[in-house]
Amino acid sequence: MTTWTPNRSPVAAPHVHGRANVPQVMRTVLLALLPATATGVWLFGWPALNTVLLAIAGCVAAEAAALAIGRRPVGHTLADGSAVVTGLILALCLPPWAPWWLALLGGVFAIVVGKQVFGGLGQNVLNPAMLARVALLVSFPLEMTAWVAPQPLFSAASPGLVEGLAITFGGGPLPDAVSSATALAPLKLGGDFAAGEALLALALGTVPGSLGETSALALLAGGALLVARRIVPWQIPAALLGTLAVLAALFNQIDPAHYPGPLLHLLGGSAMMCAFFIATDPVGAPVTPLGRAIFGAGIGALIYVIRTWGGYPEGVAFAVLLMNAATPLIDRLVRPRRYGRLRTGAPLPLAPKEDGR
């Protein structure tokens, strides 16, 4: 008979555990980002792949260095995969042909300033990737808005592998021929609002824009996976996209000439990416269903306000950071009602009105 030596450490129940764990959550997020990443690399060629790899490398190297300096377990912590997720999300927000130092610097900034100074995973108040995006946008506005028109991989106009390396590491300004305006530009510059064919292009992603944010369909596919697997709560994307759509529809009704309709807002820019992958980063989001809905709605409203009346064409990063800052307040104000108690925390009165039930 196999024997058993009692383990005298007093471990409390439960003695079994669900299958969920942090590395698995991060792997699922990476899997969900795959369609958007693949579409981005396909549309913008080898330089886009370089950007992705450099941003991830920057994040992972910075995380490893910060952990080593803080004398914390490097291998165990890196294995949670959160640095890779941050790097990939940052890369998908960057211009596809970003110079090497932009992606690398962004990655390092995201991890060091956005995450490790707060104490690492789970401790940061603000979304690291969005913090880096804003920091890069205000520091390097030229490089951060150098959009290229899509030239699918292996097409004649697409740069080859070596040429791609030259674009990434060469450092020269982009040839004028390829630079272009994004789909959201008409919001600020005036002009034709997208309609029909243009909306289809937005859905497929065949428009100039950030590396992984142009294809709404690819993002939606990944987002659906996350919601279905319950990796992200549905309330955030629903409230975010819903609020954005309602505001856009409302102002579009008032003055269609000045305010584009909801479809452009939903499909263009970073709205889809934000709704499923950025706003849903649990670290900076509230923990209750109602809190999440408020958070999502807040981001949606801020995106609309910044896009429509703000100084930047896209407001996703600012909107997320502002609502991240509001999260502790939301979590304090929105708490579930406890069993057997009123919302105030006082016990339920005895002898409830039975006739009412």
Partner: protein
Amino acid sequence: MKIFRFRGGIHPEGNKDPTACHPIARLPLPKRLYIPLQQHIGEPAAPEVKVGDHVLKGQRLARHQGSVSAPVHAPTSGTVIAIGDHMAPHPSGLPVQTITLEPDGEERWVETEPAVDPFSLTRAEVAARVRDAGIVGLGGAAFPAAVKLDAGNRHPIDTLIINGGECEPYLTCDDRLMREGAGYVVEGVRLIANGLGAKRTVIAIEDNKPEALEAMRVAAAAHPGISVLRVPSRYPMGSEKQLVTTVTGREIPAGKLSAEIGVSVHNVGTALAVCRAVRFGKPLVSRVVTVGGGAIRNPRNVVVPIGTPAADLVEFCGGFTVTPTRVLMGGPMMGQVLPGLEAPVVKGTSGIIALTAAEAHAASERACLHCGRCVDVCPVGLVPLELAARVRAGRIDDAAELGMGDCLSCGCCAYVCPAHLPLAHLFNYAKGEIAARREAQRKAEETRKLAEARRLRLAAEAAAKAARRPARTTEKAETES
């Protein structure tokens, strides 16, 4: 019948099939029985026998003391060979006062109370028989059943709920009991209902036990006051508060008893014990235990005398196939680790579960992601991640403010946590700390009151003395003159 939904909850892997498919087996009489005097919530029982005494099966070994307590009876006939410390079935492994019995193998019963028509008994008589039989809640909490019946006399009970939820994974003892002894269970249910004066009775069974549901429906069909209710399989359905909500739609107000809203909850195993006690006059001396878990060779349910060492059960079920990582008493969600296989089965032991490493899905702890899954599943509506952060920082008072005291210790939060934080572990610590602080505060208050009373008494004495002194001097003067 309408079913109400309670907040949160989880769907853990049931792992009930390996034991649910076998009939209950009977354990051969063990060589020694170790019967702890404290097997229930409340005061320990006081021994009535001495070393060397020969006792008969069902003879009382120790009587109850205090209002919340239960007597202990001899599980078989034999000789008392020791009264002293033995390992308690508690994670601490600390010894408790235990009577050691060497069976004589004859299983001779003590003369039991004559069988009567149990429905001719008054409520008080039913409660007395239940108390004298040493019956405690067999679902695991081991609260003396007679105390609950008494509470029914103080508060009018309109609904009796019989808990056949058995929501803990692995455990199937109630399932088998309902399949094999439905008639006796229903009779016990009717006796409890009678004892409480309940208007209606609901036997709630989770939908993962279709055979038990069917057996109970058939057994209860002749009794219009009893309905058998199919409830969804969702842990912690078997928790009293959650079951009351599921069946009645009402919540038990914080700090109140279920009896105060007219509901009483008893376990199906308890109902069977009540039937045996009231109809046949037989005390609680054995119970059904699920011996399961991936490390047990032949997992099954076994009926065993109280006091049987866990080792005898494991051996009867073929021993371990692999070395278990943990051996538990009770289910894996709320059970406790056994300090050793010499610990005995007590009245509240629903299972001996030997888990393999693969079943436990244990992983090293990581950083909290703030993902809020613990909030989603908490059946109380707590925010476990906030509580955990405060408990870790030693801010117990802040945790109490956020409702730490309402925690059921059901473990849903820890089960789903992707960071594998030991949430329930932290909360048990915090609740112990809160109880200790409250006790310290009560003592300080008591001391202050005593000191105040002493000060007042001394002041009064001094005043009386002062008042007498001039009188005495006058007396003196009078005698001198």
